[in-house]
């Protein structure tokens, strides 16, 4: 198990989460994502078009929470103070599941940058919910977690649900289609195309053209192929198609140049479709990968971008 970002004064094992004083404690975490591989209104058999996305979950970004129920406290305090949505979500959970009114301390730590389209807010909320659920010994299904998270935010990210390679609806993270057990292994050079963040909820909805929609359908077909046949190049191509469609409506600086680098040295480019980060994707099995990544690092630096994080996907994630 991954070492928590913050250490607890108490042992956070589930069996030992309360003592005679009535205090309860629980730990939760949620991994973040680096934007999406694919996003848009894709065709689903028998359902017309569904506004959906395939997230790119990365372990290098996550939120952790420790929830302490303290009967002597007047209310629930959260650190840092601005994680108000997490508090709201925990309140809703307690009300819904007949739990005691929350009081005590909720501590959240996260290395997910805010307002970059990486789901920082959702990850905080989900980590907090999991921690509180553990504290109160009230197991929640992914579905229940998702519904609680949605109620505290207008739109939610799919990583709350699980890190399985799947298509989720955009608005409430419902599972639409599960592609398979794992995404193909991939290495990613991440960068931020804008120093200032954006308000991801303030963007007007996109009016996709027929051409865009057909392109997204192709990307979805390639995504199915990528997971079924473990093809990182098909996944890269799917990501490139989706980010190219997205670029018409949510332009990222220097996208054309980044696309060119991706096609020359890697297997594709992905973006946070409602954010600012972008990732150049590489095939870990490519014998020339070191040289390729070095070339891309240099070119990114020449463009005036900073590399934010280098990430890799190659393990099977549990839900």
């Amino acid at each position: 198990m991954k070492t928590p970002l913050i250490s607890a004064p108490y042992d956070v094992g589930q069996e030992e989460n309360s003592d005679q004083s009535g205090r309860k404690i629980g730990f939760g975490e949620c991994i973040g994502h680096h934007g999406e591989i694919l996003q848009g209104p894709v065709a689903q058999f028998g359902q017309g078009r569904v506004d959906a996305l395939v997230t790119l979950p990365v372990q290098e970004y996550s939120s952790s929470a420790i929830y302490e129920h303290l009967p002597e406290a007047d209310e629930l305090t959260v650190l840092p103070w601005y994680c108000t949505k997490a508090v709201a979500a925990v309140r809703v959970m307690c009300a819904e599941f007949g739990l005691p009114e929350p009081r005590g301390l909720l501590r959240i730590e996260s290395n997910i940058p805010v307002a970059k389209g990486m789901g920082s807010s959702t990850s905080d909320v989900v980590a907090a919910l999991k921690a509180a659920a553990r504290a109160y010994d009230c197991p929640l299904s992914n579905d229940q977690l998702a519904k609680l998270a949605v109620r505290s935010e207008r739109a939610s990210d799919a990583t709350m649900f699980s890190s399985l390679p799947a298509l989720f609806t955009h608005r409430n993270g419902e599972l639409v289609e599960l592609f398979g057990p794992r995404l193909p292994a991939v290495r990613i050079i991440g960068l931020d195309t804008a120093a200032d963040g954006i308000d991801t909820l303030a963007l007007a909805p996109i009016q996709y053209s027929d051409s865009d929609l057909y392109s997204l359908d192709c990307a979805l077909s390639l995504m199915r192929h990528a997971v079924k046949y473990d093809s990182v190049s098909a996944m890269g191509r799917a990501a490139t198609i989706s980010s190219t469609v997205n670029q018409q409506y949510r332009p990222k600086a220097h996208f054309a140049k980044l696309l060119q680098l991706a096609e020359q040295f890697g297997v594709g480019i992905q973006v946070a479709h409602s954010g600012t980060v972008a990732g150049i994707l590489f095939d870990p099995a490519d014998p020339a990968i070191s040289a390729a990544m070095a070339s891309v690092r240099e070119s990114i630096s020449d463009l005036g971008f900073e590399i934010t994080k280098e990430m890799s996907l190659g393990m099977e994630f549990g839900a």
């Binding site: 057909y214 359908d217 192709c218 077909s221 390639l222 199915r224 192929h225 990528a226 190049s233 198609i241």
Partner: protein
């Protein structure tokens, strides 16, 4: 490699057979094998017209066709309970016409070819008369209706899902719908995919001289609006005899029992593949529009000729082709550009 099989019962034969099967024929060649390819645009066009209200309770569907599109329409109209009136020429007589009539459609055979434009032109004239004789008609207009090529987008998705990157596509061209539509759809994912048209002497589709065509089902006496010339990198012209040999070989080597245009396309695909080295072969799709039923007599009666070409003759211009296997580097030009050379 079969990772997961999903078994369902289909609502009708159209749902069951409209999409092709993808069959690996060794090395880099994949057959896109249809039961009856024209069912796909027929179904798509009829479905859309029903949804849009252009086919109403009293509408008669009217169309000019030399065979397979008419059969596709007959199946769709039968399953939807829509009256169908087809205009064709004597080549349709036989099992195809029998099937169409058995499905309740009227088969109106024009006996005399026009001086200019041959049977195609006289059929179009008759089509005009027939459309004026019914109060409400709908004409699919397969040669110009953009819903014909658009119908092939699901096949592109099927192929991408099953095979990922496609490098080359080879297929017979007649109405221009399948190859134009499929290639454009595939190039959304992989813009470098090459496209090779398989045509036959006597067809004017690719700037060659018009004349009688022995190999039916591909080529055309008129230029259909749906043929997007700028899509094609290469054109091959294959004779009936060469198509017969190739179709026999496809059966004896792979147990694929398909029509003559499918054999012709496979022959071309095999040759093109041979020109590429092992590493750069990529994946080639071969479009196979129908099965062998209506060609059976010719197929089993055929004997290979010793004088057959083993390589296509490269011509400098389509006007120079002869009666045997030829090829030309079309290079995605327009028809006007080809005619001006």
């Amino acid at each position: 490699m079969n990772t997961q099989q999903v078994h369902i019962a289909f609502a009708d034969i159209s749902h069951a057979t409209v999409m092709p099967k993808l069959v690996h024929l060794g090395e880099d060649i994949y057959a896109v094998k249809f039961t009856l390819m024209k069912q796909l645009p027929a179904r798509h066009i009829i479905d859309k017209a029903l949804a849009d209200g252009r086919i109403g309770p009293d509408t008669v569907v009217v169309e000019t066709t030399s065979g397979t599109f008419g059969l596709g329409l007959a199946i769709e109209c039968k399953l939807h309970g829509i009256p169908l009136h087809l205009i064709s020429d004597p080549v349709i007589e036989g099992p195809t016409a029998d099937r169409i009539r058995d499905l309740g459609a009227t088969v109106d055979v024009v006996r005399e070819p026009a001086e200019i434009g041959g049977f195609q032109a006289s059929r179009l004239a008759r089509l005009d008369e027939v459309m004026r004789s019914y109060p409400s008609t709908f004409c699919p207009r397969q040669y110009d209706n953009p819903e014909n090529p658009a119908a092939y987008t699901p096949v592109a998705e099927q192929v991408l899902e099953a095979l990922g990157q496609i490098d080359h596509i080879v297929g017979p061209v007649g109405s221009g719908g399948s190859m134009s539509g499929l290639t454009r759809a595939l190039r959304r994912a992989y813009p470098k995919t090459t496209a090779t048209a398989v045509d036959t002497a006597g067809s004017v589709l690719f700037a060659a001289k018009g004349g009688p065509r022995k190999l039916r089902g591909l080529g055309n006496g008129l230029i259909p609006g749906n043929l997007d010339h700028a899509v094609f990198d290469t054109v091959h012209w294959v004779s009936e005899a060469e198509a017969l040999s190739a179709t026999r070989a496809l059966h004896s080597n792979h147990a694929l029992y398909v029509g003559l245009t499918s054999g012709a396309a496979h022959k071309v695909a095999l040759w093109e593949s041979k020109q590429r080295s092992g590493k750069s072969k990529g994946k080639t799709l071969v479009i196979m529009p129908d099965e062998a039923h209506r060609y059976e007599q010719q197929l089993w009666g055929h004997h290979d000729s010793d004088s057959a070409r083993t390589e296509p003759l490269l011509v400098n211009h389509p006007q120079e082709i002869d009666e045997q296997w030829c090829r030309f580097d079309w290079n995605r030009q327009s028809l006007a550009e080809a005619n001006n050379d």
